[in-house]
Amino acid sequence: MNRQEIFEKLKEIAELTVQDPSILASMCEDSDLAADLGLSSVGMLYIVIAIEEMFNIRMDDVSFGDFRTVRDVMDYIEQKLKA
């Protein structure tokens, strides 16, 4: 899966978590998870579990504080998929 495909899949996950279409429309790699996507810690819970289930990986070596932007999440997923 290339980086664009990872982003597209994250966006599909975000569609089910972030209800505001205007937020989704502006989502990019630089988007801040809290400030731009409005994710609270609860929202992060949904996202992390969604990533585990949808990408079939286990995020057991990171904590939520490690992810600040969409790019941080994508870098982690990319690294996990290559392993």
Partner: protein, 344 residues
């Protein structure tokens, strides 16, 4: 576990609503609740590092919310520790951090104190939500002129490809399989070589934890991936082989009426792909098109333009969740979501 509004007793698991979820703690007395949460001096912090097993009073725990007390069933009461032991366990954890909303949150802490094992119904229910998201993904691709043929998994499929005497057919089936593998990975994070893919007695491909369907026609291939039984068929829209005689042979009057507004060839293409998709979903032994109702609501047909127009029919559940991806590439395949397909 059930919950009730009421007066807690020493050693009770308690909780209070905190937004979408609940915050949990162990009740000692009104002056002492032991919880895994922000310490009093970092009450508004969002940092995991400021979250510790700490003491607050009942008002600090509730923050104006309603107190709920765990009401254990008989089996739960048998498993639960005695109140003094619960409080001891909680006090032994005072000062500890390592908060992790997935694996070590306040609910994990409270359950560990009461039952000796960490668990979180809240996390489990979120995980269950994502595990049960309907998936109905269809991958379409133009057949390349000369796909690079490499080994595929599982071995049963490789044997079938090796047994193909017609090189063009072999290349088409090989590419269809590669598209399926790309789809399994993209939609469900699955490796085709590790999910027990094999043909059943009716020659339908089945696997562990997913459902698949394959189709190929002149110029294109198509693969469907779902968590529920699915069937897919792809045909070029304006194939000159579609003739009225065939329509008369396979279509009921109801079906003819359903496609009456379409040119014969298009109507037949629609009916044919729908019958094939339905047959593949059902996984029957013999394809008898005249016995399959192509007007059924469990089948959806769309027009997709690749190098030309194709009809793709998908039979399955959750048709409203249908997503279509176009696959391209040679050595490595990439999938791009298409949103420009039209209902047909």
């Amino acid at each position: 576990m059930k919950w009730k509004l009421g007066t807690p007793r020493r050693g009770d698991m308690i909780r209070v609503r905190a937004g979408q979820f609940y915050h949990y703690g162990i009740y000692v007395d009104d002056g002492e609740v032991i919880q895994f949460g922000p310490t009093p001096d970092a009450e508004h912090s969002l940092l995991d590092a400021d979250i510790r097993v700490c003491v607050s009073d009942i008002h600090g725990f509730l923050k104006g919310g309603f107190l709920e007390v765990a009401s254990l069933s008989l089996p739960e009461r048998i498993k639960a520790a005695k109140p003094d032991e619960i409080v001891s366990r909680a006090r032994r954890e005072l000062g500890k951090g390592g908060y992790d909303i997935l694996n070590n949150n306040c609910e994990h802490f409270a359950n560990n104190c009461v039952f000796g094992t960490k668990s979180s119904e809240q996390v489990d229910s979120v995980r269950s939500f994502w595990q049960n998201i309907p998936v109905l993904d269809v991958y379409v691709a133009v057949q390349p002129d000369a796909p690079v043929v490499q080994k595929v998994e599982p071995p049963q499929r490789q044997k079938e490809l090796d047994a193909c005497k017609n090189e063009a057919v072999r290349a088409q089936r090989y590419f269809a399989w590669r598209v399926l593998c790309a789809g399994l990975n993209r939609s469900l994070g699955l490796d085709a070589g590790r999910i027990g893919l094999h043909r059943n007695e009716n020659k339908k491909w089945i696997a562990n934890g997913c459902e698949v369907s394959l189709s190929h026609c002149k110029g294109a291939v198509c693969a469907a991936v779902s968590k529920r039984p699915v069937g897919v068929d792809i045909e070029p829209l304006n194939d000159p082989r579609y003739r009225e005689a065939l329509l008369l042979r396979i279509a009921t009057q109801k079906e003819k009426d359903a496609v009456a507004a379409l040119p014969t060839g298009e109507g037949l293409c629609k009916l044919w792909t729908r019958k094939e998709a339905a047959f593949k979903r059902a996984g029957g032994a013999q394809f008898l098109p005249e016995q399959i109702d192509a007007t059924d609501d469990s089948i959806r047909t769309v027009r997709v333009h690749l190098d030309r127009d194709y009809l793709v029919s998908v039979a399955g559940e959750n048709l409203g969740n249908l997503r279509i991806y176009e696959v391209s590439g040679t050595d490595e395949l990439h999938c791009v979501r298409r949103t420009d397909f039209e209902p047909f």
